[in-house]
Point group: D3
Chain length 323, copies 6
């Protein structure tokens, strides 16, 4: 539990829990000993959302906690309308706290005639009136540069790597199934002081849908921790688990931040034999029916709560991580 | 069928049909003899949408036709992503054509601590990169002022009133069930040269949910055309039909622009006896199962097609209506 | 008299009285026990205005009170220059308080090739550097959406309707002469628990200047309160008074917010017989020579003063009205 | 007379004459053989202006000619509303042509707590929607930097200096009564190949209103051309004429761009003996009753017309002056 | 040599060569058969740059070619001033063509309290007035999302990989020394149909400056093509060459886009034995004294020239690459 | 030494010293008894700068002191990157303090086809994220209007003129070598109560590089103080010194704000005989080797320190000068 020091500048902390982050917001509320503020959320028959705050936020320091998990577009729009509502009620400062950012993978034009939707989302948040934002493990660090407002981009890296450090596993290798995640995989390996390997998938021939999967680096006789940022259906992670096993790996662990787990993720993850443990977080709310036996869910609530507190009090966030 | 005069300024017309307006776009395409341009629309498992244009729009005059009907948030986001995509592909000019604008009823703060979501939607369209917009029968004319980009706000008023004029009904009165629609009701009555009446609903007592409905003006022995802009469940229109009947009206007609018709609209409209005809338009695509026997659907395609043509050629749109 | 609680955030309240609102500003100053701040206003021979503040507003919470009444353009420009001056003197926060907003009736394009001047005025206020605004009874609630900065749009509705409630009139009907005001008229009627009627004017024939005026609803044998937002020459209100009298009404009352009363308003209002009382407010300063015997002028100063206080202290404004 | 080459890019030239520049606009219209476009300008009883264009400007290259002469604020607002109107009618390009810019002398903070109104005016023009501007002899060249849109800042320097060159005066000296105009005075002198002198006014003592006027440089036995940019009441120019005469000057000439000539300018200028000639331009419309016998009014119409033509055709304006 | 089709929209192509790209611009000029436009560039004694165009660009389609190579800040400022100059001369469209973008590696906050300078550079280019940009091989694709204006981000990938394909090397492996480049390395390997390996550097201990370098994947007995985007001193590439050699590699090739080659790059590259060939491009101008014997410099001029042509004519750029 | 009153609003003062103003920042730090905050500044081999703050500035009131002296572009970019860094670290308020502004002389288009680089610099500072700025003796007061953010433009006028007042010189005349500085020269003369003269340089003939220099006004037998704002090579000041001496002046003094003193300024200034004293300030850091014997350097540190203090505390700056 944190102790709140004297307030200043932007009035008092106000916490609002969006539809997608009710449980997380409750945990943060408890961490901060600040109650969640009430509001009515109406969904009209034409699907249009309507919001009415129970009390005034005039001059206060407001934090709106809303993950951009499915239903993605509805949740995004709810967040934007809430920001507009807070702005027009003259909030002192509005921080959009979205522990998971949708559209983060649409962050570049790797082919012609496609959008950069993540920049669009950033612009929408700014034009709605947010003064700051807070998020966790962006798909690419560069997305922070899509915003011109300041923000706190937090990471579950310390939380997840510390968890594995405490397990004190012997003879481990870190592997990643997405080469875009290579650098972050390296950081994980370096933190644990273990080697690194890669799973590379490649299409065979122009037209073919067959893909050859190879392991680059040495996994034989080792436990493998497969790290990633976001898991949807779990397909590529499960493929990777199989190929490292075929290459002689022993136990396999999964570690990732955002547990979207859309169908058939639960089936897929259950189907892979010998996955010792699946370590993830609650940036996206995981309904009870998706809690697998070997799943460990670390909470980002203390992290977000502490950063909200420091942001409110004008204290360093970097210090939290001895940075 | 329109004849296309020589192009200039913004390259050639490119028409894109969004998910919500496939049929309407096809009609417009036929009106203009301009084929719809192709694109891939992918919906990933995390619901994120992805777009890839089949051909380049570099320097062209692009019209994206997409109504904001349900699924509202998905359709809105699809439109915004498409605009971003067109902008980043260096379109010469991008016109967002949304025959029905969602959130248009959230256009003012008639109580404290609520949003003005229609302004938010306007800002989102602008920040995505649209250069112009085109829409039909905004809930309030003032919403045009929410945009700083120019736009063509068209009306079905001429189409609908001319339809009733041609019916040559005798002894008619125009009535409206929404006092916010009073002025437009008056224009309808003036065009037909007939009297005007109002249906007023009022809550009885502070707490009670009972509402007294009264008719202001004279409907006895007359046919009544109930006019409105948008029909969701049809509840208030059906209530109004009942009360004017109770006050001695003969035949009842419904006339409105946007046929959202969300459940239980079809049941409600079917249940009202003696509704002679329901006249509406295709600004929102009406699926076949909602086509009631007494329903007449006027197409806005020639209107939109002609205005797109004039916008492209730099000719007056007002002249279309002798204005 | 209000008691000021401890200051925070934006320094101290500074009140500036623009040329058009000297008297109102004085009343607000007294309500708040905050003196008006001094400044020199010079009008050069080329009509250009020049302003010099007597003291610094650096870091302070400034409220500039200036109605946009005639001379409209000069008063508007004075307000804008003052805002620029306050901004460049590094005010902590600038609130433009204009109890009456000019150009509010130019809020939509109801015909082609016309401006939306109210949006232009909103943009001018924002580009000049105002952080917030405060106004009373906008012609259309949607105009609040023309601003992207937050604002407090107050209403004289409670003040005016309470006044009539206290008169305890029997057998009354509310009527409005402008169908665009129908919904607000309904609210008035609902508050008083009395019926509603409308005066409708309609041109006869395309070319003719003759207009037929009819009363929709029942006024016979009743006292009629004619409600509106803004009165210029009073012509349409006086016409409405005559027609309801011809339809059997007894006493007639006028109730409106903004008393522009441009010539020949005084003559016109004096000429209508049997107007029992004219109830209005001082959002626009009414010179003594326009104070008619039957005129009651309610002051908006306590309302504006209280809202300034609450805005300054970061307290709810909605609570003022039990909202 | 100019010959129009083939149009391109922004459609056709459309000329609109604002209230303040009816005559100048007519001359420009004749120069270009392009008729003035029609519009209705209504001034309501509350002074609010309303504009309705007679024909569409969709996609056209529009030039709005409106000097910011008195009534300054009304004329400025008329220009801004017209720009909004043109923008919302989808003009291809809007150029605000204001041969005289008001508030140009409020271009810096030479004391604390004052505005920079010229920047405000520039921002207002941009926010209204102008794409370009055209003006003549800005009080300070730096004001061009107040705009972020491109513009053509023309000068009457060539016109006025050529006029004096053609007079072939002997033994002349250029003098200026405003030290802020010193550099432009030097350019005038250099063009004519004659010496330069200055009239300096200085307050005597802190409180006193007495001013000592001295001549710096040699004027004895010479004809003096007093040059300036803008003349209001003519007071300082007439003072300067007197002091150079006292210092032995012979004939005195006045040369300035903007003839505001507000009362008592005509009386003052008439009262100075021996002013041989007053040479000015029609950037501000000079009513017949202010045409003094010794006044020569050069027209800027051919200059503005030619620049409009070149701007329209995408040809160099600098070449006009061999630059 | 390209043939120019008929112009439209933005007038004619105007090419300007910035100080940093004189040779490349000349090649592009020859490719397009469009002469370079002249301008004076003065560097005052206070280092301030001043630009004067020889001819007008009014309404023309301007391409300014200027790499952001050292002297970086001077070249960047020269580009920005040039853009301002072109904007204020009313260019029809301004495209900033910078084949190499400085500060692209400062694209995210991978530690607290650091800037994202690449976003700053993007904003500077936009605020200066560029309408579009064109660049080559951005350090991270996401940087395209830092711009809100559209741009063409080209790649030397096809040029470089085709070059190696044509060499028809046997038994090759692609390796990369920067894990952030892993995905692009994979694309290279996939194009050539060869395996992939990684060189990983890791600090040993918290304080130590010793780094352990390991090879992940198999390079023994193979030729290795080390690929990267930008080479400064060449240190990390030379280190990688040594380590793959120690791990049994045969010939080593270097392939990279941007040849910054700052001291002691030439010495370092010369010192590595058995580097068979260094293949790079002229996005950064390589002075003759840095042309090493084993260096092959491919020109991006035909690529940029062709894209400029297609951008000008409103034709697809993607088609160039069968995309 | 100043006493700091209680803080409010923007947290605590944080002072950062940029590379170009290390000494000045130290003096300001001492004046305010606020230590300089630490940061790492790395210059990579590709010249790119990188900044890392030692501690958090979250919510604090930050002043970044950095003159835009040579190396101009590097120092400007360092300032912009620092501002971006401070913004992204969520500073409460960022004030860019640049005692000397580069590119201030590029403040207008006095010929066609040239930039207004000073506006560009102002825009760059704003887009980087500065909330306010502070500078000294802008080349033209109008440049303050290039900024839309508020700023404090201070002047050394009081400091320099008081210095000369205290010298109590008899029989003095103020002269200026730049007619653009005429008005400020007049203010200097008025403050000292002495006459004014001008040195005018004029080109002879169109092509010739010969210039005729004349003195306007009377300097014979008088001491002359030559005043200017910025001295680069000192050439024009030294020329002016010679010509006033040739016209009979006695002692010559130089007084100017910004001592750029680029080569061969030191040689030039040393070469002019009889220059009694050179009075300047440390807005630009003057290295010891440029301290000439007759040079007096007044420090702007107390002025900047006091204004920082007042800006921080929300107190008037104008009062400092009894304004």
């Amino acid at each position: 539990m944190a102790t709140m020091s004297t307030m200043y500048g932007y009035g008092e902390i106000r916490l609002y829990a969006g539809s997608a982050s009710q449980e997380l917001a409750k945990e943060i509320s408890e961490y901060l000993s600040v109650p969640l503020s009430g509001y009515d959320l109406v969904e009209f028959q034409n699907e249009n959302l309507f919001i009415r705050l129970h009390g005034s936020v005039r001059g206060q320091d407001v934090y709106l906690i809303q993950s951009m998990s499915p239903p993605v577009h509805r949740n995004l729009m709810e967040m934007l309308i809430m920001i507009d509502c807070l702005k027009r009620d003259s909030a002192g400062r509005i921080t959009a706290v979205f522990p998971y950012m949708a559209y983060a993978r649409s962050d570049k034009k790797d082919q012609p005639r496609v959008p950069i939707s993540a920049r669009l989302v950033a612009d929408m948040i700014e034009v709605a009136g947010a003064n700051r934002y807070m998020t966790v493990d962006l798909h690419a660090g560069q997305i922070q540069g899509f915003f011109s407002i300041p923000g706190d981009v937090l990471t579950t890296f310390h939380m997840l790597s510390d968890y594995f450090l405490r397990k004190n596993l012997q003879n481990v290798v870190i592997a990643t199934a997405d080469l875009g995640f290579a650098k972050k995989g390296r950081n994980f390996a370096a933190k644990l002081g273990v080697p690194l390997a890669f799973v590379e998938k490649r299409r065979i021939g122009e037209e073919s849908r067959t893909r050859a999967t190879t392991v680059i680096g040495d996994v034989r006789g080792k436990d493998v921790i497969l790290v990633d940022d976001e898991v949807l259906t779990g397909a590529s992670l499960c493929d990777a688990a199989r190929i490292v096993r075929e290459n002689g790996a022993k136990d396999v662990y999964f570690s990732f931040s955002h547990a979207l787990l859309v169908p058939p993720a639960v089936e897929a993850l259950t189907a892979v034999p010998d996955v010792k443990e699946i370590v993830t977080t609650n940036t996206v709310q995981i309904p009870t029916e998706k809690h697998l036996p070997q799943m460990t869910i670390l909470s980002v609530a203390p992290l977000l709560g502490e950063v909200i507190l420091r942001a409110h009090e004008g204290r360093s966030v970097g210090e939290l991580f001895n940075e």
